[in-house]
């Protein structure tokens, strides 16, 4: 810490460029979005004066409410599935794998290709003439291709659980890896069997990774556009698709802005409640 304390101006100088960029590219646009959401579209421009009409429309219309609900439900399902599937995987690498590094590389390689194409690959796999259907037909297990695989919330959940797997595996692995092995030995020494030891020591100590993973997956998937657009069909449409339509096709920017802000607020509130309850649970357990 050279010259710590005295030269805090030097520290602020180092922080300033990033703050300026973030101010220009994040704070200003978000402020503008708030202002826009308080106006009304009138032809190519905005009508004079301020109004809360957009928020009334966003919260009042049942189809919008359904879309919000579905987005949150799909995201919650994705989060749950992804974390639940990733936990044993991360546990295996942290505690049982011989070549940890090779496993970690092997687990991350699938994510080094285009997100669009990873999502699209599921369309190929689940589609009417796709991999699963053509394989099943070939094996004479079915006569007609299955139409239920694609264009529904299920397809969205599967695809997103695949696309975001790395974001669950890595944080959980890191928190498992950090656990002092002597704690586990102490638990065994004090009479815990493997299952009790897992429930009383390993799981609680790895919760920071689980919670981190959950937030890291829930927040962006709620606003995902590509996956519902490619594999969701009408039953799997999510809020981002509606927002995009307001901006690009309908041209109602104030409504699009209000939808964006409300969805951000919903995500923030849910993530906040989740964190708070996780913290409370951790406190109660202590």
């Amino acid at each position: 810490m050279p010259n710590k304390g005295q030269s805090s101006s030097e520290g602020y100088g180092l922080l300033a460029p990033t703050l300026v960029v973030m101010g220009v590219a994040l704070a200003a646009p978000l402020l503008l979005m708030v202002l826009t959401s308080l106006q009304a579209q009138s032809g190519p421009g905005f009508a004079a004066g301020w109004t809360l009409d957009q928020y009334g429309a966003v919260l009042g219309r049942a189809s919008y409410r359904l879309l919000f609900l579905r987005s949150v439900a799909i995201s919650a399902a994705v989060t749950l599935v992804t974390v639940a599937l990733a936990y044993p995987m991360a546990y295996f690498v942290a505690f049982h794998a011989k070549h940890k590094f090779i496993w970690l590389v092997a687990l991350t390689i699938p994510f080094w290709t285009s997100y669009l194409l990873r999502v699209f690959a599921w369309k190929i796999i689940l589609g009417y003439g796709g991999v699963i259907n053509s394989a099943l037909m070939r094996l004479h297990l079915i006569d007609q291709p299955l139409g239920v695989l694609l264009y529904n919330p299920f397809a969205v959940v599967v695809t997103l659980a695949h696309a975001w797997a790395a974001f669950a595996i890595l944080p959980i692995y890191v928190s498992l890896e950090k656990i002092d092995r002597s704690l586990l030995e102490a638990a065994s020494d004090l009479g815990d069997g493997p299952l009790r030891r897992f429930l009383r020591i390993t799981l609680p100590l790895s919760m920071p990774g689980v919670i981190g993973a959950a937030i890291l997956i829930f927040v962006p998937t709620t606003g995902d556009y590509v996956t519902p657009a490619l594999v969701g069909g009408t039953q799997g449409t999510m809020i981002a698709n509606l927002i995009e339509v307001q901006f690009n096709s309908v041209g109602n920017w104030p409504l699009g802005a209000a939808l964006s802000l409300v969805s951000m607020a919903i995500v923030a509130v849910i993530a906040g409640l989740f964190l708070a309850s996780a913290r409370a649970a951790a406190k109660a357990a202590r």
Binding site: L14, F92, I125, E244
Partner: protein
Amino acid sequence: MKSKTLRLYAFAYLAFLYVPVLVLPVFSFNNSQFIAFPLSGFTTRWYGALAADSVLRHALSNSLTVGIVTALLSTMLGLAAARAVTRYRLRGAGAALGFISLPLFIPDIVLGLSLLMLLGAVGLPLSLAAVVLGHLLVCVPFALTVLIARFEGFDKNLEEASADLGEDGWMTFWRITFPLMLPGITASLLLTFITSFDEFLVAYFLSGTEATLPIYIWGQLRFPERLPMVLALGAIILAVSVALVIAAEYIRNLGVKKPMVGA
């Protein structure tokens, strides 16, 4: 859990991760327009078609430009900011860090759209520069996380020892900080480049007439007859990415791999 069951599960999970990704190379060599089993023979014609596509080449060069500029800028910004929060006692450092990490908690579509509105409001054209600005939002939090971890991983005494041995701040940076940060810097450059190179939604709103590679791919997905070619492109991206990761790992091993603590 029994370790055998767990191992079985691990391989099943690995299959779940790999099968969709392997669809890309498998069908990119399949001699048929239709993406379905059975495979109908080996061909490299889809790769040939790729090479002949000038629109693709233009999109690729756009993506490389945006990716490289974004990676350099976000790593430089992240380096300065990470140094500020780990090496100085600053009032409000926590709040600043929270603000910089905010994009992690905002859907990409909102980031892209709000920037689109700002550019419209101040009368700036959509361009690759706008895409870079949008990508900085997404990439700086990543760079910062990687670099802060690295800064915290090495003994502050090392920089003090350098000053004690007669070097000023600038030489200390080049002789101590930079070499010790190199693995972190490499990781940050790689992570931010790949993130930017792969980013679709923000670029989709901000790029205007200059398509990046993901925008090009998005456009191709509507044409079934072009699918095998797109899959070939995906296979190439996968191969290059894997090569890049291995190269980065090699560079990392050239640097310091042992614990970076003085004691």
